[in-house]
Amino acid sequence: MFADYSMSELGAIFAMQGFAGLILFSVFVLMALGLAIIFGQMGVINMAHGEFMILGAYMTYLTSTLFEAYLPGLFSIYFFIAMIVAFFASGLLGLFVEWSMIRHLYKRPLDTLLATWGLSLILQQVYRSVFGAREVGVSIPDWMMGSLPLTDLVEIPINGIFVMVLAVAISLAVYYLMFRSSWGLQVRAISQNRVMADAVGINTAWTDRLTFGIGCGVAGVAGSAFTMIGSTGPTAGQLYIVDTFLVVVFGGAGSLLGTIASAFSISQAQSIMEFFLSGSMAKVLTLLVVVGILMIRPQGLFSLKLRK
């Protein structure tokens, strides 16, 4: 199959394919970070995670529309404001959901799964009623359009680079929060020994709520970033949910580094296979390999052997 291409063309194809893999990696990382906090640290299954991302995307869409109409002069930087709006919109919704629903179900993980699935259906219908059933796209500021020519054959789209930069920045922010802030310390303490954490004076109920809220907020920011490379529809969140959970579980729940490593391996595997196979078969094979490895190593790639 390579015979038809010249050396430089082959190089270009691999470079482009590799870059596509990197963008997919960034997308996976962004999707999985929020879930790694909520599922990895709290053990809560939030099936509405995708809908929290979509909320962030819709918030970005709203912000871009508002800037276009009222502040066209500042349009080139609207995206940064949109990300903050997205964080708070999804985060506040997360706080409310934790308070009204999740906290009553901490001891029933399977029920949490079903209840949050119900929530995801409701949110989907809300989006459909408010924003319409059709997909919406945001207007991208001029500086983010176009691409950087790397060689004659290889061009890199700027919005792709932007999403990658965002993925790195948000990962660093989450890392800082988890391992350098007092909130992160409390979250990790609770995830290791809830009773003890309670006893040493950590307000576990509030920390749980805040954790859930921050996880949802991160999802919102991820959704916001997605608007730069694709359009948003009411049911888009549902498409992500299985992939996202697999990334987190595959990495070993509770390990941030594991999540990133697993996002990397899954995205690279998928984009490499896409080169050789049809898109759907690449997806099937990737999922099968991931599920197969999980059957052999259910604790994921990175996890400690713990005393029962």
């Binding site: 949490t112 799964l113 119900g118």
Partner: protein
Amino acid sequence: MSIASNRLFTRQDIIGFAVLAAVVFIVLPLTLDSFRLNLFGKYLTYAFVAVGLVLCWGAGGILSLGQGVFFGLGGYCMAMFLKLEASTPENTAIQSTPGIPDFMDWNQLTALPWWWEPFNTLTFALLAVVAVPVMFAFIIGVAMFRRRVGGVYFAIITQAFAAILTILIIGQQGFTGGVNGITDLRTLQGWDIRTDAAKETLYYVNGVLLFSCLLIAQFVRKSKLGRLLIAMRDQEDRVRFSGYDVASFKIFIFCLGAAFAGIGGAMFTLQVGFMSPTLVGIVPSIEMVIFCAVGGRLSIIGAVYGALLVNWAKTSLSESFPELWLFGLGGLFIAVVMLFPNGLAGLYADHVAPRIDRLLSRKSADVGPADDTARAAAE
């Protein structure tokens, strides 16, 4: 009482089975026109899945979010046979390759794939309806339960299987009919399944099969295996250290649930006349869980009512208020988890059953001796 009377049916069970039989075999056929009866027949095929879920999830604590896979596999096995019967060389004379299913011809296939061949035989197809889902369940079950994967991990991985099978079916449209599924099914051994009379017959066949599954489920629940499942759900380690190979029981019950789902899928194909990936994926699979939850996750009879009610509500609501349906379904998921964890069966057991018991015991006080002889005869 429970030591002495470890019977297959308690009085409450008998009432439950009798009322359900009356609803399925008398009330629904008498009150519904043949279009609606066929619709309810379709709902009842989901009840097979829901009954299986009561055993796996309600009793055993194993939540599978991939029951659509087994429903779909059973349904596809049936559909493949029917499709081959409909694709005679005479019927498909206009195709570039006559004698193969139309969708294969559209996708430039020139011969029937080898794995379609056995589905020319009805016996093989009927066996496959049960065997294929059970085989898949067995493989998944062995891989997961031997490695002690359970709870939410199991749920997510079964969900991934639902996603994988859907993508596979849609992607390989030359072999599977793709997103449209396998359609235009006509006859079963020459018997036209599209007529009203045939649909009515199929409704009753479906009902009888459902009751067979219910009886098997009842037997399993009342056996020691049923009590072991409950014990495993609460104290898996204690069961293991009482000398049981916990994984083998989980594999068994998961396979049984898959077998039920496969039969349900086949009956769906027969009654509705097609099978498509929309019945396999993540969304239908998790909806099947809600049928079970609404009926009451611990009650096999409740699961049947759950499937009927939720689907009936879905049809009526999405006919008149399509926007409301998703709100309703979403609300149902939340309500059944937060407010009525035991579903309809729980409400029945709390509010209706005590009254019936009181009523019956008042009566039996008048005819005491007769009741005693009846009980002795039953033992």
